[in-house]
Structure formats: structure tokens, C-alpha cells
Symmetry: C2
Subunit: 644 residues, 2 copies
């Protein structure tokens, strides 16, 4: 480091801001705020209030270095323990030297939100498919060994196979082998899955795997280099099965009511994946022959429909899956266009409504072997929850419905350009004003899950809603039309489609059902473990939707317990991350099977606690009271720990 | 046994004749010949000369009991050691009490010769697919195990699976499993191939396997009960690939010259097998779901074309197979319509022209572990030969051509009704007459392999042919027409199609090429082993054609060495028998792999001995001299053994 530079600053008097996990560094002039730093680096930090410090949309966390002290605005927005944990507003905080900051995913705006990168644990590479470059002896009249035999002998001679080691060839590889080895002039890379040769490639060809999270709504796919573990390209698409039913239950009903229904659903899904894969291969300049392995996760119904298994029995109690153990199915049997001999690994399912995607999430988040009491959930049409308390793993699934996907909401839409993703109500009484942020800063055309959650939370805080979810007619932002109260989110003149955007009592009810089910599920698991919400030390929120919600809002509406925000961790598509971990490591597949064996499934539909909790949790609680309770609990805990 | 009956005879003064291996017993009056006995029992013993004792077509061997002494006719037809071994003419021999006789396959006439039962060794049953009848616990709200899991648990509970034992489900079984187990009301027979469930059946369903010998010309198929080892039904068909080339070389050429050629050939073969299987299932009242396993053998080209492997490299030196090791391919990948999860086992190949069918033959005949010096061959378009001398296994393949299949012969045809199968020339000089026997005793329409071999042998003996294979113009049975000599086998008036049936010089040449190649192959192996033909103690002739030929004729034309006939054993379709052995026993599959590992392949095309022998063996030898040589050798051997 040069001597003439100020301590803690970069060369020439500039300051370096290192932004994680996006991995961007930028040099700024002293005095610039973190928001300005982010903007100058092209990092799209959210800024709902335009840098006034009155919303928390540009929230970041200081990892290293020093910032100006918290402003009055920050002191009023954050709890003391949040400030202590390093949470700040990027618009308010100015670096005093080189700093490293962490930008939570919900503070980033992204034009298209299908492509979600989940956090993946560090995994030692041990892919199921390995390659060996060999030079094979050429046949002549004195050496009549079969092609397979001379490949085997070359593998042994080059130390890639023990002398007595087993070696099989995928039947489909055999159909091309003799031509291939001659075209390659007897030098080749042999790709093996266990003891089976799944592809013959030119020497030094990159070996790639495919990880897919098949969501009920969205598909997230990743191409991963099997020799480095690097994600080469990621992409997303809608699950085309949506045309046959928005949620799992309606798709099962479709299969029950249509001959060949499940084959139709399977075919549509596979076609969509093949298209997605084509596009990804094009982007990464890869050939299909190089996609040598795949791991596919999804909920149990998606798992069954992907593998072509019957789903009728998932449609009625006791909701028994056809298969729970891990499967390895030749890709060609499914019609998935990978390398000829490639397999698709499907990790184990737990129950009819807790699938391999949840196992993958438990794996990727580390919830399965956490030392602290940890709750991990993935919010979707069904919300699956795992609670790890003293090493006991409890899990359940609650039917939270598609409201957070934008369905069943009057002006709901998926997270796409023009969707309102952040909502705030500022000032009060007659002067109350609504502030919005849309994806891509485009004129609003609808509201997505994180937006509706924000809206409900803001409406509660501003007194627009009462505890039962009714719109308060006397509030300045509520109007009376056609015999109903409605909350005008955006007047017609300001929307992208020229019509009023409203939130109605029905919309509020949908969110009440969703958040009530999720919270009741959480509480039921806690009760099973004999603990209370305050005992949860790590609260992990996974999934695309969970990544973008405001934890603040989720607590405010009562969906999450009022724990200190520092205990929450939003991890993105952890199911996809878990799939990638299993793609590059057979040990991770083994761990997934251990997780599946350890998970105790709690069936909520017949659980008395759940029914009670659900009816109770439909209402909204007094947020301020809950907030105090949380702080109180935090202090109680500290005192308790000191006593130990 | 009643006291009042004559010693050695049945009740009421009748005599019992027990005929093996056909397994028929008949009561006859004293004084009746064995031929009359066979006729009264409906056993179709050949009788070319009509019972005159001047041909050996009704040759049998006495196993137990007493017959009238050999007639003058028998003494002139058989060598003393043959008579000593019990060989007799059924038309001449009259039982003196209860007798048991063995009827060699070549002494039986059969209307249609595609269905060949090979002799199969006694094999301890250890099929790859085993069944377990279980009652599975029904799911309820307190028992949410997946269907696969509860089947596994039921297998463990019923002692069919060790607690930690592996269990997988074929993906295709999973696609139906949940519906099936509910339709079966949770009681079922689980069929497993190794640790993989390949079919779910009703309790007590018969479990059946398919064994197939895919010949270049003919398909022989057997349905075998896997729990008893019994052959339930056997059937045959022509190999439809004949339309694309009569022999292996022309089919390989077809594949080289046509895009998708090998896929066409594969598809046609599989279609034919599916049709054959349909018919067999109908006959045995079986469903496809019950056909749980298959073993398919064939020469290397048939093996490759069945499995969809490339054959181009089999078309030119050094004739290297794509694969030599044993394969297990899911039947569904081949399009073969067995039980959903069934596999097809393909035993190992040895070389480009020594395939799994030859390994199967070595297995079924016991040639692989014979204690005596044993030569075993299967005559076809290619003739594969194994020589076992002091435990060393040598093998080779000679291109004997399709003459014995009736191809390239002016009036040749396959062994089908109307084909001449036996030929004899009686009397001599101007009075020389031809005696014939056709399959099914129908008017002659052509001549099949055993017939043409008999004809050439008879022509040699009668002086119609000289040693070089030329027709002797001065012979009464040879005529001169259109500048060529021809032998009129059947004049136009006596044939089924109203045209002369001839044997031409060209026909003779075809047989010279065939027999020359076979004999040269035999001699080359003997030379490799450092022994002479007289040292061969057991000479096993396998294959449909080999079963029906006259050993006498084969020796006479010089195709086989002039060993005593008692050393020859005609065993029928031994490849098919070996396939059936492997179908019912995984140990037999293991032995086949040991055989393949032990067989030393001798490439004849580059072998100097072969070229010399071949040009030498094209000519005919002096049969009588060879005969004396054989007798002499026999005596020499006896003396040698006494000296030891």
C-alpha cells in the first residue's frame, strides 16, 4: 500500500466502496453518500423517498470501515439493535474512509425478477459426473479388442480406473461410440456418472450440469461448470402448466379429470425446459452433449409431474406421494435434451406437500444443521417451513394461496416491469400521501406481492385498516363507491393503463388468509418444539418472493413474529442454490437424503393447534405492541443469557 | 411287477419301446420293428429307403434292452464301433424285450424346422428377476409414508429384503405405481431385477422370461417360466433383415450405404420380435407385463443391430466390435414390448465374427469346461468353432457362406415343406437311381442344406463327381445341356413346380467353398493347439442346420474329419439353449463372462495355416481312404491309451 495515501482511503484521496454480494467496487470522492456511490457504480439501489431518509428502501449494512453517524431520520427508522448490527440508509450514510457494505436483496431493484440467484454455501466439488482425457490404442490386426474394451484399458493405463474397477457404457452412448472414437482419432474425454460412461467428448471439453427449480409458477435454471462449480448462466421462465391451473390443487384436479392429463402437463414442462436450455446453451456457447448431469427440485406435485408420476393420490387425504426417495432417471426417458447418457437426479420428497425443493432449501441455508434455533421458510402458493430446535427438524406446509404471486388480487400482477413493489404512506390525516416504486421505474400497471404486503402494512400503520381488515371509511385515503369502501393506490391519470388502481376489502382478506396460514404454520411448529417465537435465533426467508419483501412489513401485518430484524436473513432462491450444490457434489446429495430422513413432518390439516392459530392469526395485531414485545423479549433473553 | 409276465417284456406279452429324447412310450407286439413301433406311436422317424435298410435315415441308438442282431444291411452301413455304440437301423432292428432307444435329431422328420429345441444342461434356478408377494399397509392420516416407502417396508417386514437392503424402482414402474397398488387393493407381487423393482403384478402371477437366438436368417424364441425353468412355448420366424441382405456382410454394407440404415434394420428386427412375442403370449395365455426378463444372443453383427450399435467398423479389417462386454439394456429403450421395467441381457461378444451366440453355445454344450478334447461348432453363414484342449479354449469364425441356407444354390431353398432333406443314390451304372425325402413328404420344390450335403456326398460316392468337383460326363445320371453338365435331381414331371431340379457345377462349387472353409477352420484350430483331428474326443455340432445333416455325408464331403460317428453329438439350437440357461440363472451369465474372458480368438483372415488349408480342402478327399484312416486312428489311439 503506498505511504502517501490517507489511512483508510484509496489512492489520490478517493474512497473505495466495496458492495457485496453484488461484487462491485467503486472509487468515490469524499462526501458522497453510499446511495450516490451505488448509483455511480450502476448498482440499482432502491430509493423510494428519493433520498429523503423517510423510507427504508435503501437499507444497507456496514461490514467494514466507518460511516458518518446515524442521522435523526435513521434513528427514527431503525431499532437500536439494528443500528448496532450496522443497518443504515444508503442515502444518509457517508463513508469516512474505505468501506465494505452488504446490500440486502430487497434493497435492490431489478427490471426482471425471474432470475434469482440464491446464496449457496461453499461446497467441496465432488460432481457425480467426472471426465478423463485419454488416448486410446488404435485397433489393428494384432489388436482386436472391442472399442469399449480398449477405452476401459486406456482408462486403467492412465490411472483413471482401478484395474478391477467396474465400467459400463450407457446404451445410448454405445449407439454412437464406434463412429465417435474414430472421428475423434482415438483421443477423447470420457465422461462417467459413477461407473457408467454417459458421454464421449473431445479432449478438454467443458463439462456442465443443469440445476432447475421447478416452481408452481416459475422455473429457475442454472448451467454450472462441473469442474469449477461456477454458474455459467442462469435463466428463468414461467411454468407453462399455469395454463392448466394456477396452483398445485387445480393441476392435480386437471389430471384427475383428463385422460393423459399428467402426460400433457409433463410434456409442456419438459418442452419449456428444453427451450430454456436451448437459449442458455446459446448464451454460454455450449452444446447439449456437454450438459452431462442435472438436478431438478420442486414441490412434490411438480416433482411428480416432471417425472411423469401419478398425482391423483396427492389430491385427497392423506396426500401420500408416490415416491419419497431420491431418484436418478435417464434424461432421455423424460425427453429432456441433455447429453445422450445424462441422468436427472431428483432429491427426496418428504410428504405430499413438502417436496425436494424444501430439502434443497434446508441444505442450502444450513437450516438442517444449524447450532442455533433456526426457522427457515419458502413463501409461495404453498409455504413450507422447517424449524430446527436442538437438532430436531420439524417441518410443515401451509396453503398460503397465490395472493403473493399477484393472483386473486384486484390489481395484482407478477413481479414484472410496471409492478408496484414498494408502497409507503407518508404524513397523516388529510395530508396523507402514498409513495410508490415500480419495477423498472415504469408507469404502474399493477401491484406485485412485495407491494401488496407493503401496502397492507402501510395502511395498517396509517389507520386505513382496522385490526379485522376493514377499510376505515373516515380515512382521507378511503373512498366510497358502488356500496363499497376502496383504497385508491394510484388514480387513473397516473397509471400505465389509465384506470384506477385500488385495494379492496377482498384484497385485504386474501392477504389475511395468506399471512394467517403462514403465521399459524410457524406457531404450530414452535408449539410442537415447545418453544416460543422469541426463541427463534435465525429466521431465514427463502424464495424469490421472500427475497423482495420488506421484513418490516411482514412483521407489521403479523405474517412473521416481531423478532429483531437482525435475526432475519433473506437468502433468495435457496432451493435453486441447493440444487446447484447437489449438482456439483454427491456428498451434498447424500446430505439431502439424511435431511429427508431426519425431517419430522407435521400434517397441519389435522392439527388442532393449527386451526386455532389460523382463526386467531387472520386478524392484524397491534404492531407497536408487538414491536415492544420483541424488544422486551430481546432484553429478557440477554438477561437470561447473562444469568447462565 | 406282476409275476406272470415274461422277463423283459410288458404285461400281456407286449413289449414297451421307450423313445428318447421325444419322451414317447409305446406297447408293441413282439416281432414289430422299431420303425413300426415309432410309426404306431406317431413319432416321425425318417425312412428314406422305405425300410429296405439301404440308407441310414432311420438310424437310432439302443440305450437299454435287447434287439435282434444286426442284419447284413446294417453291418455294411455302420462301422463296427458304431454298432458297438448301439447304433442301429430302426427298420431292421426288432426288440426282443422292453427297450429304450435314443433317436438322434437328424433321424426325425418335422414339417417345419424353424422351431428347434436345443439340449439344455441342468441348471440350478437363480433368475435375475424374483418375485415377492406382499400385503402393504394402507395409508391413513397417521401413516403418510410414500407408496414406494411402504412397499419397501412391507418387503422388509415379510423377510424379502434386508433392513438396510437397497431398493430402487424403475422410473417406468413409478409412472403407474400409485394407481396399480390401489387397484390391487395393496396386495401385490413385486418383481425385482437385482435391487430394482421392474413390475408390480397381482399376487401369484406367473413370472416369465424371453430367450431369443437372433440368427442371421432365423429367429428362435422361447418363453420360460422363471420359477420352474420350464419352456412354456417356443416359436420361430425369419429374420426380416434378410430383405436388406442375405448375410452379415451385405447388411453391414446396407448400413454403410444408407443413412439411418442400422436404425431401419433394428426397427424391422424389433417389430418382428414383438409380433412373435404377441403370438407366443397368446399361445401361452400370458400378458406382456409378465415377461419380466430377456436374454438375447446372436452373432456380433446381429447383436449390434439388435442393440442399435454401429456396425460400420465390422465391415472392414480389423473387424472390431463396438462392445464386447455383457450388456443389460432396458427393453423399452429398444422398443421391445416386455414388462415395463424389464431388461434385456446381452451376453458378451468375443470378436467381430464370434458373438454372444457362440458363447451361449459353449455354455450350453459344456464345451467350455469339457475334460476331454472337445470341438464344438455352429454351422451357418458364418461358422464359429471352439476347440477345448486341456482347458485351453481356442475359437475362430469362418465365412462358410449361405449355401447351407439354400442360397446361391440353383434349386436351393430353406428347410420348409417341400424341401428335399435327404438324398441317396442306390444301385450303380445305368441302373443308378435317386431316392429323396422331402420335408412334410410334399412334392419337391427345392433342396435345403442337409439335402444338398447328402446329394454331394451321394454324388461323390456314386462317382457322379470327381475329386475336383467336376460332374463326370460319362455317368448315367449326368446330362449335357446348353454346353454344361448337369445332374438331374428330380425330373420336371415329379417336382412340385413342374420344372427340372438340377445340381450344377456351380452348386457343387458353392458347397466346396463352404465345406472347405469349415474344414480349414477346424484344422487351423487343431494346429494352434498342436493336435490332430484324431485327437478330438467329442465333436459337437450345434445349430438348426447342423442338427439335421447327416454326419456321414459331412465326413464324406470332407467338411468334418473322419472320426468315428460315436464321437459326434448333434445338439440342436445350443445358442438358444444357452440363452435359456442364462435367462433362468445369473450364475450362468457369470459363467458366460468367464467363457468370454477365456476364449482365445484366432483371426483366420490373416492366418497362414488357414489359407493353405482352405485351398487344400476345396477338393474332395477319397472318403474310403479317410474312413480307413479314421478307423486306423481309433485303433492307434486305443493302443496308445493302453500303453499309458
Amino acid at each position: 500500500m503506498p505511504d502517501n495515501k490517507m489511512p483508510g482511503t484509496g489512492a489520490k484521496g478517493t474512497i473505495t466502496v466495496n458492495m457485496q454480494p453484488v461484487g462491485r467496487r467503486v472509487e468515490i470522492s469524499p462526501g458522497m453518500s453510499l446511495l450516490e456511490a451505488a448509483q455511480s457504480a450502476g448498482v440499482e439501489l432502491a430509493s423510494l423517498c428519493g433520498g429523503l431518509g423517510v423510507c427504508d428502501s435503501c437499507k444497507i449494512r456496514l461490514v467494514r470501515g466507518e460511516l458518518t453517524p446515524p442521522t435523526i431520520e435513521e434513528q427514527s427508522l431503525f431499532y437500536p439493535e439494528q443500528l448496532e448490527a450496522g443497518f443504515r440508509l444508503a442515502c444518509q450514510a457517508v463513508p469516512l474512509g474505505d468501506v465494505k457494505i452488504d446490500i440486502p436483496p430487497e434493497s435492490l431493484t431489478t427490471p426482471q425478477r425471474l432470475q434469482i440467484e440464491g446464496q449457496s454455501a461453499e461446497v467441496e466439488l465432488a460432481p457425480a459426473v467426472v471426465g478423463a482425457d485419454i488416448k486410446v490404442e488404435v485397433p489393428d490386426i494384432h489388436d482386436l479388442r472391442a472399442d469399449t474394451r480398449r477405452i476401459r484399458d486406456a482408462l486403467i493405463a492412465s490411472g483413471h480406473l482401478a484395474g478391477g474397477g467396474a465400467l459400463r457404457f450407457s446404451p445410448v452412448v454405445l449407439t454412437q461410440l464406434s463412429k465417435q472414437v474414430r472421428d475423434l482419432n482415438w483421443s477423447m474425454r470420457v465422461a462417467r456418472h459413477g461407473d457408467e460412461v454417459v458421454s464421449i467428448l473431445p479432449i478438454d471439453t467443458a463439462m456442465v450440469g443443469l440445476a432447475v427449480d421447478v416452481g408452481t409458477t416459475k422455473l429457475a435454471a442454472y448451467l454450472v461448470d462441473l469442474t469449477t462449480g461456477d454458474t455459467l448462466v442462469k435463466s428463468g421462465a414461467m411454468n407453462p402448466q399455469i395454463a392448466f391451473g394456477e396452483d398445485v390443487v387445480s393441476r392435480i384436479a386437471y389430471c384427475q379429470n383428463h385422460t393423459d392429463g399428467r402426460r400433457t402437463l409433463q410434456r409442456r414442462l419438459i418442452e419449456a425446459l428444453n427451450e430454456l436450455l436451448s437459449e442458455m446453451c446459446r448464451m454460454a456457447r455450449l452444446e447439449r452433449d456437454q450438459i452431462l448431469d442435472a438436478v431438478v427440485v420442486g414441490n412434490t406435485a411438480m416433482h411428480h409431474l416432471f417425472a411423469g408420476l401419478p398425482v391423483n393420490q396427492l389430491g385427497h387425504a392423506p396426500y401420500v406421494p408416490a415416491v419419497s426417495e431420491a431418484l436418478d432417471i435417464p434424461a432421455r426417458e423424460l425427453g429432456l435434451e441433455l447429453a445422450p447418457g445424462a441422468y436427472v437426479h431428483l432429491p427426496p420428497n418428504i410428504a405430499g406437500y413438502v417436496g425436494a425443493d424444501h430439502v434443497a432449501m434446508d441444505l442450502a441455508t444450513g437450516a438442517w444443521n444449524a447450532q442455533r434455533t433456526t426457522l427457515a421458510l419458502d413463501i409461495g402458493t404453498n409455504t413450507e417451513i422447517t424449524l430446527n430446535h436442538n437438532g430436531r427438524l420439524l417441518c410443515c406446509s401451509c396453503a398460503s394461496g397465490p395472493a403473493f404471486e399477484g393472483a386473486h388480487i384486484r390489481d395484482g400482477m407478477r413481479a414484472a416491469p410496471g409492478a408496484i413493489e414498494r408502497v409507503q404512506i407518508v404524513d397523516s390525516g388529510e395530508g396523507a400521501k402514498i409513495r410508490l416504486q415500480t419495477i423498472g421505474d415504469q408507469p404502474a400497471v399493477g401491484i406485485c406481492g412485495s407491494g401488496i404486503l407493503d401496502a397492507i402494512a402501510a395502511m395498517l400503520q396509517a389507520g386505513v385498516l382496522d385490526r379485522r381488515g376493514a377499510l376505515v371509511g373516515s380515512h382521507a385515503l378511503v373512498r366510497w363507491r358502488d356500496g363499497l369502501h376502496e383504497f385508491v393506490l394510484v388514480p387513473a391519470g397516473e397509471t400505465g393503463h389509465g384506470k384506477d388502481m385500488l385495494i379492496t376489502r377482498r384484497d385485504v382478506n386474501e392477504i389475511q388468509l395468506a399471512k394467517g396460514a403462514i403465521r399459524a404454520g410457524i406457531e404450530t411448529l414452535l408449539a410442537e418444539a415447545g418453544i416460543q417465537s422469541q426463541d427463534v435465533q435465525d429466521f431465514i426467508v427463502a424464495g424469490a418472493f421472500g427475497t423482495y419483501i420488506s421484513i418490516h412489513s411482514a412483521i407489521q401485518v403479523g405474517m412473521f413474529p416481531a423478532l429483531p430484524e437482525s435475526r432475519f436473513r433473506q437468502v433468495g432462491n435457496a432451493a435453486g442454490a441447493g440444487a446447484r450444490q447437489m449438482l456439483v457434489s454427491v456428498q451434498q446429495r447424500q446430505i439431502a437424503q439424511e435431511i429427508a430422513a431426519r425431517l419430522e413432518y407435521i400434517e397441519l390439516s389435522s392439527h388442532p393447534d393449527f386451526t386455532n392459530e389460523f382463526s386467531h392469526r387472520l386478524f392484524f395485531s397491534d404492531f407497536k405492541k408487538e414491536g415492544l414485545t420483541a424488544e422486551h423479549a430481546e432484553n429478557t433473553e440477554k438477561i437470561r443469557q447473562k444469568k447462565k
